[in-house]
Each structure stands twice: as structure tokens, then as C-alpha cells.
Subunit: 262 residues, 3 copies
Amino acid sequence: MNVEVIVSALRRVREVKPLVVNVTNYVVMNNTANALLAVGASPIMAHSKQEMAEMMYFAGALVINIGTLDSVWTPRMLHAVEQANANNKTVVLDPVGCGASAIRTETSRQIATLAESLIIRGNASEIIALAGDQGQSKGVDAMDSSEAALGAAEYLVRTYSCAVVVSGKTDYIVTAKGYSQLKNGHAMMPYVTGMGCTLSALTGAFAAVGEKTGLAATAVLGVAGEIAAEQSAGPGSLQVNILDTLYNLDVEMLTQRLIMID
Amino acid sequence: MNVEVIVSALRRVREVKPLVVNVTNYVVMNNTANALLAVGASPIMAHSKQEMAEMMYFAGALVINIGTLDSVWTPRMLHAVEQANANNKTVVLDPVGCGASAIRTETSRQIATLAESLIIRGNASEIIALAGDQGQSKGVDAMDSSEAALGAAEYLVRTYSCAVVVSGKTDYIVTAKGYSQLKNGHAMMPYVTGMGCTLSALTGAFAAVGEKTGLAATAVLGVAGEIAAEQSAGPGSLQVNILDTLYNLDVEMLTQRLIMID
Amino acid sequence: MNVEVIVSALRRVREVKPLVVNVTNYVVMNNTANALLAVGASPIMAHSKQEMAEMMYFAGALVINIGTLDSVWTPRMLHAVEQANANNKTVVLDPVGCGASAIRTETSRQIATLAESLIIRGNASEIIALAGDQGQSKGVDAMDSSEAALGAAEYLVRTYSCAVVVSGKTDYIVTAKGYSQLKNGHAMMPYVTGMGCTLSALTGAFAAVGEKTGLAATAVLGVAGEIAAEQSAGPGSLQVNILDTLYNLDVEMLTQRLIMID
């Protein structure tokens, strides 16, 4: 993997303007739709079984985010994944809060098992919880670091034949071929709700144009967030400025800022 | 129709502060409530059958937006329209994504048929899809232009005895008496999610004070969006600045900027 | 009550970073989550019965906001309150629109009756409606002033053994021991949707660290809103700047600005 993969993926998103269907949580719907528009994609926020087959026929990718899951929405998520499968579209799974309740862990695993083409994007504790006992190996004291979830991510890659993005101070892009590290971003970003959800949505946009590892989305949001945070007095401004920066991000800014270890 | 209609409608909204009930999509609830507050109206975001009769008794208008429709929400929308009818209140229908799925087209038509006093606000492709075969006449090559939907809009005006707003680079306000064109707005506005939904919400505020064509809302948002966009580095800022501009918009700014062809 | 109570509560929120579970309305989920993050707390926006027992075991407090209630969500709210009770966690009730429909009044009373440790936060008309006939005593001509709800608030304090915050130009913090008045805030704040909901969410954060009167949250948001409004061109900017100000608020700013009458 290298910078050219990222740059050409960003160019393709802006040319193709891929439709990305999002079955996501109530908290972030506005922000993730806006982030998809800002990067050049076309968001569809839809969840009804009454139309998902039609939506997935036209769409380039499906993003499933379990942030506000319940017994009404979970069957809709599973139905949407089935429709993505039927249309050979990639599913991005954001297992929000996986490990915080049994139902989140179970539902995440159900979705991961069902999806035929899959990228999982979560933070360290979510990835570790999703992997369960087999994935845990680095000990509790490193729980907050994304490195601690590397073993779990590798387990998920093998188990679900997927790519995994572990977000954190360092982001890990884990595939069957190994992993890359991205070190962009800013300490203020976790003070904006749904920053990870935004990354998952953008991962869908890039998957829709063929970049199915999560690398390009992670690079683009990491760099944009870093630039935006430097201009922001606090997390309110940052939420706004990230959209402006995604909209204006050019290849030069991206390549100059990018810190990647392959 | 002339400028005075628009100006006096804006004055009335700010004096009357009309209650506008919104049964709308999850994505835009915050923004459209804020836009209604900024223009001087009082938003109520409510959808429950348990209270809609009471809400519509007090409210000045009803806005129905099908953006995130499903089998649970559609009956609530129909019930809300019935309550609007029972209280002689105008319904603004935003047929979001009409044509993108069969259920959206069907539901939009059901609502349009049911509403006794109706304004429909959509973009060209939604208006064309809502009209169906009878409304299409201008050919596929003009599909992205609002002019292409003029025939469809006129068909809807006749069929549902309603007013129709077709939003686009040029906005068309179509009534039984003919149509007006408004040419304000800015190319950055489609990069903010739910800009059309905001227009539909504002259309409800103006309908509540007796301006039942969509003209005043379209003029106000077009001018406010244009001013706001000129001060915005990107769509994140624009979403914020539109609210500030709506709040501060005075009659002089409005009349100086307005580009209307009757 | 004095300034030191407020200052030390803010310090504790930032140290402890309490988890606050929010069963709230669709309109404000993003903003209230961001306000909780900005003040230093950890928001969980969750509503499913499938996980509420687990969530309330870990959480520091529960915020119930009935803003977009319906027959599906109300049982979830009641279930969440039961789980808060089972775990000895304080419930903050925001009776949004209480009095605007019978179901809002009934549901608010049901929740207030059920919660074992309770803070109620509303505006004057909501507090008066919640108290019903027994609480009304000051006459209709003062309906818009928070002072008019003081009798109703005192009635609620006695009836539900709770604390009550009446928000308005003057905020009243009412407990069994008497009341305090806070006179911060800004006339532009009601032009941002969900400002009261944000106060209720912050009240949950402070309750989670032991400040169970609503005083500290009201002081912090009043001062932050006042500072933010002075720097804002309109309500769009204000919504953003309040988050920045909450994030940056220091003890000196807070104590210098605070206008409190014990």
C-alpha cells in the first residue's frame, strides 16, 4: 500500500460520486451524511425493508452502524446486509459499543458473519470485544491503545475474511497481507461525537470505488481532522471545520501531511 | 406575485411565530427545527398518533418529509395529514427520494391524495417521479434541471389542486395561475444535507401565516443561502451560517438580492 | 449552596468523566452528546430494553427526555428508569412539551412517580403543566416567566421528593431546602433548538458525580451560553460556540460571570 492508492481513491470518489447507503444511528445521521457529501460521495440514509433491495441495487456500498440498535432496527440491518450480498456490494460494519452490552457483541458478530464482502471499523475496545477471548492477547493495561487490538484485528481478518480498521492515536489498517499504520489525527477529535462513525461512512464511499481496506478513508479523515483541529477553538468548531476541510482537501495537502508506516 | 408578498409574509412569520408541526426524517430534524427558529417560527418535531390531534389543533401547518420513511412511520404520516385536514391546516409534502424506490413514490402519492390543502416541494427528479408517466414530457437529457420538471409540476398542480415548488439552480413556484422563477441560491448549497428539507420546513412556516405557494420560503432561503455561502469556507460553515443569516435577514437584504421572474 | 459547590462539581466531572445514559429525542441527540463530551463527561445514547440493564449498571446517571415520545419509546423510557432504580442511579427527567398534549403530561408523571432519585428540568410552562391544578397559583399573566412556576416546582419537590430546575431568563433551582436563582444566559439561547435538552443532559453529568440539584449544570451552561452568545452572529454560530466554550470553560471564567442569588 502506498500514497498513490489513497490519492487515486480520493480522485475516484470525487469523479464517481458513489451512492452510499447508511443504516446508522440517530446521533450521527446528519454529520455522516454531510461528511459523505463533503468528500464528494452521495449519501442515502435509509433503513426500511420496504425499499432496501432497490437501494442496494443502485448503491455502491452499505454502511451498518449499530450505535442506537434495538429489536426493531437489528432485523433491518440484517436485511440490508442480505441485499448488499445479493448485489455484490461491500458492507462496512461499525460495531459501536461492542462489548458494552451482550446484544451489541452478538449483533456485530451476526452482521460480520452474514456479510460476504466486509470491512470492520472500530476502536480498540470494540475490536477486542468483537474478537472475544480468541482475539485478546495483549493484556488489560494497554486497552486504550489501538496496538492492543492488533491481535484481535488479525483474528477478525482470518475469521470473517475481511479488512479491519482499528482507530486510535495510531490507526491500524489490517488485512490478510499485513497491516499499515497511520499516525494522523488530533487529540481533540474524540471530543466530537461520532468521529468514528464518520470514518466508517467515508470507508463506505471509498469501498464503493474499489478501495476495500479502509486505508484511504482513514488517511483522508485523519489528515482533514488534523488540519481542521489546528484551526478550531474547540470541538464545536472542529465538527464544522472537518466538513469544510474534507470539501477543500487537495492531493497536495493530503500527501504532505500523511504519516503512514507500511 | 411580487416582492411585497414575500416581504409581508416574512414580517408575519416574525410577528405570529407560527407553530409548525414536522413529521420529518431523522437526518434533518435538528437543522430544520433550527431553521424554523431562526426565521422566527416555532417548530414542533412530533410524530406520535397519541398526540397528533392535539398538536394539529394548535399548529399553523404540517410538514411531512418522507426522507427516512418505514412501515412504522408511514401510518403516522397519514394520520398527521388526517389531523391537518380536520383542522383546516395546510400540509407541505417533501417527497424525498421519490422515484428512488417504489414505496417512496406510492407513499408520496398517498399523502398528496389525502391532503386537502397541499404544497409539494421537491427537486426535479422527485417531482417528475411523483407525476409519473403523465407528467414526463421534456426528455431525459434535461433531468437535472428544474425546468425539465415544469410539465410534471403543472400536472401535479392540476391533479392535487396544490402548489408545487421545484428546487434547483432555478426554483419554479407553480400554481394554477402560472409560475414564477427564482434564481437565488449558491452552488455549495447541495453539499449541505437536507437543504431541500429546510426549504420544506420554512414553506410550512409561511403557509401557517397564509402564504400558500412556497414562494416566500423559497425566496428567503435562496437569498439567505446565497449570502451565507459567500461567507463560508465550505459546507460545514454554510450549514451554520445559513442559520445566522436567516436570523439576521432584513427586508433590505432580501429585496436587494432577490432575483425573481414572474 | 455556593460557588464552591459548582466549581468542585465541574472539577469532578472532568476527573471522573462519568458515563451518562440518554434516552432522548431524535432532534437533540447529536448536540447533547457533544455537550456532554465538551464538559468532560461520556455520553451513551441508547434506548433498547435489550441492553439497558447493562448500561445502567455501568452508567453514572440516566437522562430521560420525552421530546419525540411515542408508544414504542415510552415503554423503553419506563424500563430505563426501572434499571436506574435497580442500580441506585439518579434520573433526570426533561418533560419536553408537557402540557402540549395529554400523553406528554401523563408520561412525565409516570416517569416522575417511578424514579427513586429524581431531578426534573423544564421551562415554566412544562413545570406548571406537570404539577397540574395543585401547582398553579400565580395566574396566567406571568406564564412566560420562570418565577410563575415556583409554586408548581415546590409542589413537585414535595410530591416526588425531587429537585426541580425551572429554566428561563432567571433559572430557579428548587429543593426541599428552598431555592436559588441563577441569572446567567442570553436572549439568543432560545433560538437554538434543544438548549433546555442540553441543560438536562449536563444535569445528568453532574448528578453522576453527586451534585443532585441541577445547580452546577445550570450555572455552567448559563455562563457558557452567555460567553458564547457574545461571540456569535446568530443561533447557528451559538450552537457551535457553546460547545467550544463548554470545552474551554475554566473556573475563573465561571466564578467571574456567575450571577447567583441564594
